[in-house]
């Protein structure tokens, strides 16, 4: 491998059009991606169809049907769907407010740059932040207690809805960042045309605004779904990684750090399942984005 990467820098002239030399220029990139991304991923996908004696089998895939696996997939999908819709809704409305909602420009810039930070503020520290807010000793919990509302034990930060509230924190800014340009692409003339034909605000949104924005809204929501589905650190910190390891990512993590599940094939199948679900979400997102780009162009 080493000589390949070095010859590139010593390659003498522009005029030599030899195909092999041209490809050497991008060889380091492909070698890197192959070693650290493609080969491991392909090998996991391949191994999910092999048993321990390396014979072809569907056993690992069938293992996915075990009740605790199915329930963890269902849990992850529900969590991702709820936070994608909740975060998408709030983020979409916020993006609307700061773009065509007519809020002052400094406010718009502040929200956008804050969203840049907040969409990166996830994982372990985000979990800490919510423990300090809504945990048993949390500031909001204690404040509510002082006015006579006790959250616990009815609510718990470590339950499904607790996780939802935490996840939505990183879902909203992502939605804002992606949807703000889409809202800004809406032309003023469309609204004026609708109004000159006698449409009121609601009718404009129902028949013009929403149909135009729908592909971007749906596409971004799908992206948020994938975003939540792949999340591991936040859930790990909040659930302790074991006691209620309901999220699929935690199950996979447990496969590396322990032999608790004692089934090597299962980890491969779990990973394959995640890749398929993420791939479908990203594919859907790309398709819906293209659709909306075409609509906005014409």
């Amino acid at each position: 491998m080493a000589p390949l990467t070095q010859t590139k820098t010593n390659q003498p002239t522009v005029t030599r059009r030899s195909l092999s030399w041209t490809w050497v220029g991008v060889a380091p990139f492909f070698l890197f991606v192959a070693a650290f991304l493609i080969w491991p991923t392909l090998s996991i996908i391949g191994q999910s169809f092999l048993d321990q004696e390396r014979r072809l089998t569907l056993q690992n895939i069938l293992e996915l049907g075990r009740p605790f696996i199915v329930s963890s997939y269902v849990y992850s999908v529900q969590l991702s769907a709820v936070t994608a819709i909740g975060g998408g809704l709030l983020g979409g409305l916020l993006a609307y407010a700061i773009t065509i909602g007519g809020l002052p420009r400094p406010l718009r810039d502040a929200v956008l740059s804050f969203s840049g930070v907040a969409s990166n503020f996830a994982g372990v520290p985000l979990a800490f932040a919510f423990i300090a807010t809504l945990g048993q000793l949390g500031v909001v919990t204690q404040w509510l207690r002082s006015i006579g509302i006790s959250l616990y034990p009815a609510f718990s930060l470590y339950s499904f809805w607790g996780l939802c509230i935490v996840y939505i924190y990183f879902q909203i800014p992502l939605m804002v960042l992606i949807m703000a340009p889409a809202f800004e692409g809406m032309r003023r003339e469309w609204r004026e045309a609708a109004e000159s034909l006698g449409a009121n605000g609601w009718q404009y949104w129902r028949y013009v605004g929403l149909p135009i924005l729908l592909p971007s809204i749906l596409g971004t929501t799908v992206l948020l779904f994938g975003n939540a589905f792949g999340a591991h650190a936040t859930a790990f910190q909040l659930t302790g990684g074991g006691s209620q390891g309901n999220v699929v990512t935690i199950l996979i993590g447990a496969q590396i750090s322990s032999d608790a599940l004692a089934n090597p094939g299962l980890g491969n199948a779990l990973a394959l399942g995640m890749i398929v679900i993420m791939g479908v979400s990203i594919g859907l997102y790309t398709w819906l984005q293209r659709l909306s780009a075409r609509w906005l162009q014409s």
Partner: protein
Amino acid sequence: MLKRFWPWFWFLVGAAYFLVPLYATFDFSLRARRGELSFAAYTSVLNDVRFVESFMFSLQTALATIVISALVIVPTAYWVQLRLPRLRPVIEFFTLLPFVVPAVVLVFSLARTYSRTPLTDSREGLWVLLVGSYVILSFPYMYRAVDTGLRSINIHDLTEAAQSLGAGWFTILTRVIFPNVYVALLSGAFITFAIVMGEFTIAALLAQPAFGPYMNRLASSKVYEPSALAIISFALTWAAIAAIQWFGQGTQARVAGPR
């Protein structure tokens, strides 16, 4: 007036969702001493030897990641624009793959694929795997930043001018291309820095003494220090993002972060 009601309403709802947890975290972090507000939790965190060690470890890892990523991405992006424009969609596809393969799946497949090789059987090997996965995670941001930077300069003219003066490829890359994409590279570097410093999943599963796993462990032994650390981490992220916007092309700071 009514026309502006809903935008303001949704803005305030959003602001509350964002700011209340931050306020609560900050408030909580000041309560380490009973009955008074103090920065005791912060001093206790900053004086912790393991904090310094894990922070330095992640800092070194982040710098290594940025250097390797730059060394791979700049020549690739340059070469693709100069010679292989048809390859651009392919490279873009590969740099987007980290979004499809979640970090936990990536580290799982790396650990499985390279198990019983020096990569997983030694401390140094695991660190190589760690840096390698971080470089992969950095590709989407690095490639986009550098590609945009290269588009804003005329690399064909620059390359020809350098060649007519007798420069070889090494000279062209180090003395013409790198200095010209320096600013774009920096914005990619800061986002990579923010990602690596807070990353938990890969570091924890490869059993590396990084900052993310340290934060995770702190929670089981301390009450107030974790929230102080969350505030420090938020400030750090903010500084990295502010640096990106400072160096232009602020819109690069998009989809990111260890979740």
